[in-house]
Amino acid sequence: MSATRNEPPVDIDLAKAQGLAEDEYGQICDILGRVPTYTELGITSALWSEHCSYKSSKVYLREFPTEGEHVLQGPGENAGIVDIGDGWVAVFKMESHNHPSFIEPYQGAATGVGGILRDIFTMGARPVACLDALRFGDIDAPRMRYLIDGVVRGIGDYGNCVGIPTVGGETSFHSGYNENILVNAFALGLARRDRIFHARASGAGNPMLYAGSATGRDGIHGATMASEAFGSESESKRPTVQVGDPFAEKIVLEACLEVMRTDAAVAVQDMGAAGLTSSAFEMADRGGVGFRLNLDRVPLREPNLSPYEIMLSESQERMLLVAHRGRQEEVVKIFERWGLEVAEIGEITSDGRAQILAGGEEVASMPISPLAANAPMYRRPVAVPSDLAARQEPPEVPEPSDPGTVLERLLDTPELGCKSWIWRQYDHTVRTNTVIGPGGDAAVLVLKGSTGGLGLTSDVNPVYCSLDPATGGAQAVAEAVRNLACVGAKPVGLTDCLNFGNPENPEVSWQFREAVRGISAGCRAFDVPVISGNVSFYNETEGRSIPPTPTIAMVGVIADVRNLPAAHFTAVGDRVLLLGQDANEFGGSAYLRLLYGVEQGAPPKVDLEAESRLAGLLRFLVSDERIHTAHDLAEGGLGIALAEACVGGGLGVDLEIDCQPHQLFSETQARAIVAVAPNTAEQVMAEAEKRDVPVVDVGAVGGTALKLRCDGAVVNSEVEELHRIWSTALPRALEM
């Protein structure tokens, strides 16, 4: 094949400028048996990019347990699938949109939500819930208020408009994100087990249909391109920011689900990262077929896009479908009825090649499976961070002079204050499945038509991860299990979003390897498979990487959602029981970090067996309807957990706790508080003892104050005042 049109000649320099390594360029020349065309080079560099190929992470990701009795689809598809009983499956995945959100927070976050929703409905599932895990820098860091406001509005406006509730998430603040915020979006969909759709193309002669918004120059990786070589004019016209169109998404969603109900479609895939390139290649590769595309038929938003641009555009809200030959009219009709653009742009072939035509010329002809099979994979060098040992030195833990004041100061931080300023901007009740929305330990959805439901949570503590990524990874899994257990949900699968710095930095690679090791250990201990996930590397600015942040989102099933405990106290007179045993652990604690600016020491140990016993006990107690309140201990320890349980329902407590005052803020894991009617307290305690979970009765619910005595110190804070501090901490810090 000869170089076409007036495209720049391809050579090693151009390849490098597009992000291909020298031997990667050699590989593609070998595969093709010639020098690639310009379009082919673009395709290869996209498919072999870190983002699409997982080249630096794949060797480690293989360690994840990905199978289990409920798993119908593990990693490798647009989203993972687990069986949740009664003929239903849950389809879920989490994805990052970090870099775009830092550049343009509103659109970056919005298109992040759009992308993850498409991943769900391409599998034939109707999206029913979202979570968002957000990491921001110090509120006073440059642009940070603007970034926070934009991200929250972007997530809200997109999800609200499409009509998918955002039922939970997490938000934290750390100076390590000052120049690299993280926006991780999770979505979950439901489908009938026998109606799952796979993005697997098949059947030579079947037409390929393009549906949704027209293609513009959005998001083509212009920055890495040799701009002199290729019309600098068109370069400058390329927008770096993709704009989301949630209305288009909503109708694309409805139209796609309608199409999938007809059996006229063979495969459906969204055009996400690397647009038409990755969707066409992945769909064909999974099905072991080839395709022929005619780019002249692709709907364009502006004239004169080059084949390269059309193949790599990341315009949003676009879908690629393969229909059964002879039935494409049915598909077209549905899209047209929804007012969407739809075009037949190619067909499936049997030769396993990607043949791409434009202007009557062949601009690319590549064998598909060798491209996927030979995608580069690296085991990057690793090195233990040179300062790790020093950072793990045991910290000094000052005794609080007045634990009540400490509690108030902690509640007054954006980190530990209420996040309702955020989630009130999200519609969390649309679709009327939300039994527990944001504000509890885990969100709960009912499966309409039954009494059963799902629990959803997202967790990770980046400070722990930065002090010890393996422990931090395991802790994230354990915390997710614990949060689910508080609503009686038994985990069936998890998805992750592994946010790290530059993998070419050996210390970052080490963090990644260790975190994956920790997560895998957690997964095995709780028997929770990883069914999907996403890796986001290069969260680094001027050599400074973010704290390792392997966000875990976990889903569990609940047999009966009708009488779940609250995360707050609900009944005067209830006994408050403390489950688990403190071990006085302050490494990476909120107490040291938020009050003293110290991030020091080994993070709390993760005893996976103790966590399992605790989770098992909590699930039993919830299903037995024996407890009114269940709330786990996390950041800020017992003190914060009690305060949250008080302010959530406006009820006080009167407690006697056997510990030193500072221990109120220890972050030892595998702990929770429950509240039970006085006459069942003994039974519950006996059950805990039977299951080898330490338990003490520390007092009763009642009054208007959080009253607590420990080792001579006294806390006596009016709940109303705590509520005022806690509920306004974030908007006050934001000045919004």
């Binding site: 509005r153 408009c161 949630p246 009740t429 309409k448």
Partner: protein
């Protein structure tokens, strides 16, 4: 009762309303497509919440011109029942069927939370299941719910008893003074949350009764709006069983 739920491109509470009408209230419910020109033999038509046409210009502005709206207007003129919730209310306003207009919330943000409403009239087909003065807790979820009109028009609206729901504090007191913003969740003129037409057969309201129609969600204060509208006895205990 034969009920229709209109589906506009971008509607997203259509299934929620359908679910309550069909499964909680046992009615004969159908979806009506925005492109249809008839409401068939429906006696009640609900314009559901959502973001018709993305709410891109003004909430409800584009949906008004859908073919179905002529039929909805006809139904209203003939005395049939029309309920607009949230986006549906916005559409009724844009259609000029209720008077007044919506502006962005005072906070200039989307607000999703519970509001307290006082039932100002219980003699309407939509409120017969309530007592006058009853205080309800009902979720809102919107960005453009600040109801406005000229003072004159508002006076007339009040005079004619067309204010059906009003935002109040949790005790039923006026959402005024210092605390106004807390209770009058979107800053509506005179804390108006829902209005009806002269004849009382068309109701628009911003809060979502269909989202609080089941004890499972800890709140079924809204069920009686739909139950009343389909003429199910106000004895809601029976309905719930």
């Amino acid at each position: 009762m034969k009920c229709g739920v209109v589906v506009f491109p971008g509607s997203n509470c259509d299934h929620d309303v359908y679910h309550v009408l069909k499964h909680s209230l046992g009615q004969d419910v159908h979806f009506l497509w925005h492109g249809d020109s008839s409401v068939r033999d429906c006696e009640l038509v609900v314009l559901p919440g959502g973001f018709s046409y993305g709410d891109y210009l003004r909430a409800g502005a584009m949906a008004v011109h859908s073919p179905i709206m002529a039929a909805v207007r006809q139904l209203a003129d003939n005395g049939g029942r029309v309920l607009g919730v949230c986006n549906g209310f916005q559409i009724l306003l844009e259609a000029g069927m209720l008077g007044g207009a919506m502006r962005r919330n005072q906070s200039l943000r989307f607000e999703c939370r519970d509001a307290f409403l006082r039932v100002e009239r219980s003699d309407l087909p939509f409120t017969s299941g309530y007592r006058s003065g009853q205080v309800l807790r009902m979720p809102i979820a919107h960005a453009e719910g600040c109801y406005i009109d000229t003072e004159e028009a508002l006076d007339k609206l009040e005079h004619n008893g067309r204010v059906v729901f009003r935002y109040v504090d949790s005790e039923g007191g006026a959402a005024e003074g210092e605390q106004a913003a807390k209770w009058n969740v979107n800053g509506s003129a005179r804390a108006i949350a829902g209005v009806c037409n002269e004849a009382g057969n068309v109701l628009g309201m911003m809060p979502h009764p269909e989202r609080c129609a089941d004890k499972l969600f800890g709140n079924d204060d809204g069920l009686a709006v739909l139950a009343s509208a389909v003429g199910v006895a106000a004895d809601l205990e029976g309905v719930l069983a």
